[in-house]
Amino acid sequence: MPELSQLELETRFQKKIDDNLYIEPKDWMLDKYRKNLLRQISQHAHSEVIGMLPEANWITRAPNLRRKAALLAKVQDEAGHGLYLYSAAETLGSSREEILNLLLTGKAKYSSIFNYPTLTWADIGAIGWLVDGAAIINQVMLQRASYGPYARAMIRICREESFHQRQGYEIMLTLCRGTAEQKAMAQDALNRWWWPSLMMFGPHDKDSPHTGDMTKWRVKRESNDDLRQKFIDRTVPQADFLGITMPDKDLKWDEATQHYKFGEINWEEFNQVVSGNGPCNRERLNARVKAHNEGKWVRDAAAAYADKKRKKAA
């Protein structure tokens, strides 16, 4: 078979993407594509894993057994989602250990939303409703991302996430139908989680550095601003039903565009949290490193046990 030139390989690669086909691990791919996807997928995996921490904070203090079992299942799901995504990232040619080490040494990023604290039980409701809600909007788009293993992981994750969002909304609804104090707690959680949730979609399109190539490669199929708008349009009526209000005096329905108008996001806060100065950045990373180190004996024991069995069998 004649060898193809770089240009022909690139043309075929792009055509495949444009024809709505998928790139698989062994297929030829642009080096830039491989690098960008590896970065995005591993950051996505780290976000799932770090995302377990703020919620795990409330497992032992859940108000009853039903809530506790549901929260435990949700946090377990996040671990599973991290694993699906690490597997997908590994197919791009990096080892699990390398990817994890980048997180543990603070070199890799994860979603900034998890650098905010969970101060009350209502925060668990707000996270499921808003944070998972925002994540779903983004992940639904990614179900058709051009990289096969990533798209397949997303399909699985989306199927599981809808339970997360519902359990969050149910917590909010219960609080909002409770005492005045409970409703105030729900409002307080909304006040603190609303803006960070909007920031999850990233900078405005005009300020978004990676969007160009990722759009061309069918990874990012909708823009940050469009996804954010979709989230707001879906979520405001849900808050109306709860009887609580978004902390945004500029928020109002615009009859002309059939969308909600909203106030300006505090990008200074966003940049601060991204660059490591959020309320919990250090705490999260320390907790992750501690968990990794304290899990060492489990990994060692598993390896020793497998070794012993192999020797016995031999």
């Binding site: 078979m1 060898e3 390989l9 698989e24 691990p25 062994k26 297929d27 030829w28 791919m29 080096d31 491989r34 299942a73 377990q76 799901d77 599973g80 694993l83 699906y84 597997s87 590994e90 197919t91 040619g93 990096s94 080892s95 699990r96 250990e97 390398e98 080490n101 980048l102 543990l104 040494t105 070199k107 397949r152 992981a153 699985r156 599981e160 490193v289 990794h292 180190n293 060492k296 990994r299 598993a302 390896a303 046990y305 497998a306 070794d307 069995k309 192999r310």
Partner: protein, 113 residues
Amino acid sequence: MPPPLMPIKNERKQLNMEQQDNQWPLWEVFIQSKSGQPYKHAGSVHAPDGAMALENARDVYTRRNEGTSIWVVPAQYIVASTPEEVGSFFDPANDKVYRHPTFYDVPEGVKYL
């Protein structure tokens, strides 16, 4: 030339924790969703042996009764067709329309064919 399948880089990041390579073998996971159905690839897990790979696969891929049976296969033993040869590899089937029932004429009025 296409890049090699899995260029594992060997640079080790400096860490104040365990430094040795802790990478357990990779196992591909196949799940049968219902009795009688074919096994389908679900993803992969790392594990030191087959029994633990099975347990990990159960915990990761069947948290909601997605399976009645699981296979785990060491990833290194999977032999796959190569994308560069996709044309010539599948080519022998391309011109054999007579392998399909629609190739044959059935006279009107003849049933159960």
